[in-house]
């Protein structure tokens, strides 16, 4: 049962979830805010693909790039308009704001487009499968793995080799002291939201392509997955988020093939049980980060 096909599909699912969790943790690391509007960045990218693909003659590759940019831009704007004014207030104010942003964005598409799902066009190779030896896998899954490798490498370079990356790591560790170095608070926070939105946008391409449709509530499931994965992997480091994403993908696929058919629809419930076990016995997650719990003031 554990064959090449299973391995490729699991690594692919894990890659997608790793990118997803990473986007959530980028903001959490610096603001200590679980951004419940995160799923909506993914939703917005989905609608960008729908609008561009349906009503314009923009080529598919430009559509995908523009969709990712839209998610990044919306993420940046929500920080500017919604989170920045309440940043120095309580963490509760921030959390409530993130719910408000989430509901607001959902309703924007509900009012301007529709509450029903809309079909999104993808180039045909998204649904092709290829055969490697005795394994038949969707080409999409191999693309996810390739893109994840590229993005993780790029992000690692940014975080390790650029001053902005160092400042972001420092800010996740000690936010106030980072400002004492002359690093503007708004700079690192905006950068975190931009990266977070970009990751949501990239994940959106593959998430939406599975059903080739988008609806206003499409962001809820990925938000939940990102949240669960980061709880398992560790909320306090980027490495933890990536590990959590892969562990989630692995557990999910293992459950899919080991659970008897009568229990398969309870797969999500099993995932929640695992999360509860983590919260009980290893609340810091698999990967203990070195970050301290300092609120942005």
């Amino acid at each position: 049962m554990i064959d090449l096909e299973f391995m490729i599909n699991t690594v692919s699912l894990g890659s997608l979830y790793a990118l997803l969790s990473l986007g959530l943790v980028f903001v959490y690391g610096i603001l200590k805010l679980v951004n419940f509007a995160y799923g909506e960045y993914l939703m917005v990218a989905g609608y960008a693909m729908y609008v561009l693909g349906t009503f314009t003659g923009v080529p598919w590759y430009a559509t995908l790039v523009l969709a990712v940019l839209t998610a990044a831009l919306v993420s940046y704007l929500t920080e500017l308009v919604a989170f920045r004014p309440v940043r120095t207030k309580s963490l509760t104010a921030m959390l409530v704001t993130s719910f408000a942003v989430s509901v607001f964005l959902q309703n924007v598409v509900l009012i301007t487009i529709s509450s029903r799902s809309r079909a999104v066009r993808f180039p045909s190779f998204f649904s092709q499968t290829i055969t490697l030896g005795d394994a038949t896998v969707p080409l999409r899954n191999l693309m996810i793995i390739a893109i994840t490798i590229i993005l993780l490498t790029a992000l690692t370079l940014v975080m390790k080799k650029t001053v902005l990356g160092m400042a972001m790591r420092a800010a996740a560790d000690r936010f106030t002291t980072t400002r004492l170095m002359g690093v503007p608070a708004n700079l690192v926070i905006s950068a975190a939201f931009l990266i977070s939105g970009t990751l949501a946008g990239v994940v959106s391409i593959f998430w939406v392509s599975r059903s080739a449709s988008v609806d206003p509530l499409i962001g809820m499931a990925p938000l939940l997955i990102a949240f669960i994965a980061t709880v398992m992997g560790g909320m306090h480091s980027l490495v933890g988020a990536v590990i959590g994403g892969f562990v989630y993908g692995l557990l999910f696929n293992v459950l899919s093939i080991t659970l008897p058919a009568s229990l398969i629809s309870y797969r999500d419930a099993f995932m929640f049980v695992i999360v509860i076990l983590f919260l009980l016995f290893r609340p810091e997650g698999i990967w203990k980060g070195g970050y301290t719990e300092e609120r942005v003031g």
Binding site: M181, G182, G289, Y291
Partner: protein
């Protein structure tokens, strides 16, 4: 260089500074002394922008900087070594220093600045690629000071640099502070170890419960204030005895 007038500051309902005034001249090494809770750190935090002061002015090189953001104040030339060193533990020594030079970075000058720091703190050269969190307390204090110096501050503020250090390490840190002054750096030093601080400073202010109780040269201070009472938080009412 730095002139503070009638500065007040509070944490919510609790007033920590009741209108203090102090001055630091160019090239001076000035200490702020006092017991726990006297308002020393609050004063430094107000100057460097971590705490928004209530009333009063903080003039630095003629400009009122009260209430400005920390990143703005750093650019004006005030660099702070925070209490507890606050090293970025997950970053290497190199990265800590690089962030210290965040606003002042110039490629050619950066190399010479690093060499200068290695001359002052040879241990940092040995530990250059190690994570800051792996350094000992004293080494972290050196890194914190070096990191603050990387921005070429006109005024260096040190908050309790000897806290938690061994006596030998405390000696080296105090020696270093007085070296820095001799090289022309203006320094505002907060210390609980009043006796040691008075050996090296030009002038000192004595803070008790948010007000300046006394100011003058170390000799004047030693003559008129019971230094031991500074350590232990003074009399029952929290003030130190000043003999007039």
């Amino acid at each position: 260089m730095l002139t503070i007038e009638n500065l007040t500051a509070s944490y919510g309902a609790i007033t920590a500074l009741h209108g203090i005034s102090l001055e630091v001249g160019e090239g001076e090494l000035v200490a702020l002394l006092g017991s726990n809770g006297a308002g020393k750190s609050t004063t430094l935090k107000s100057i460097c922008g971590l705490l928004r002061p209530g009333q009063g002015t903080i003039r630095f090189l003629g400009e009122d900087i009260a209430g400005r953001a920390p990143e703005v104040i750093l650019k004006k030339g005030i660099s702070m070594v925070p209490e507890g060193r606050e090293i970025f533990g997950g970053l290497t020594v190199e990265e800590n220093l690089r962030l210290g030079a965040f606003t002042s970075y110039q490629r050619d000058r950066y190399r010479t600045d690093l060499d200068e720091m290695f001359a002052l703190f040879p241990i940092l050269k040995e530990r250059f690629t190690q994570a800051g969190g792996l350094l000992s307390g004293g080494e972290q204090q050196m890194l914190a000071i070096a990191r603050a110096l990387m921005s070429h501050p006109k005024l260096l503020m040190l908050d309790e640099p000897s806290l938690g250090l061994s006596p030998t390490m405390t000696d080296s840190i105090f020696e270093l502070i007085s070296d820095l002054r001799d090289r022309g750096t203006t320094i505002l030093l907060v210390e609980q170890n009043a006796e040691r601080a008075l050996e090296i400073v030009d002038r000192a202010y004595l803070l008790t419960t948010g007000s300046i109780e006394f100011s003058g040269t170390p000799d004047e201070l030693k003559r008129r204030v019971d230094i031991a009472s500074v350590y232990f938080g003074g009399e029952d009412d929290g003030t130190c005895e000043v003999r007039l």
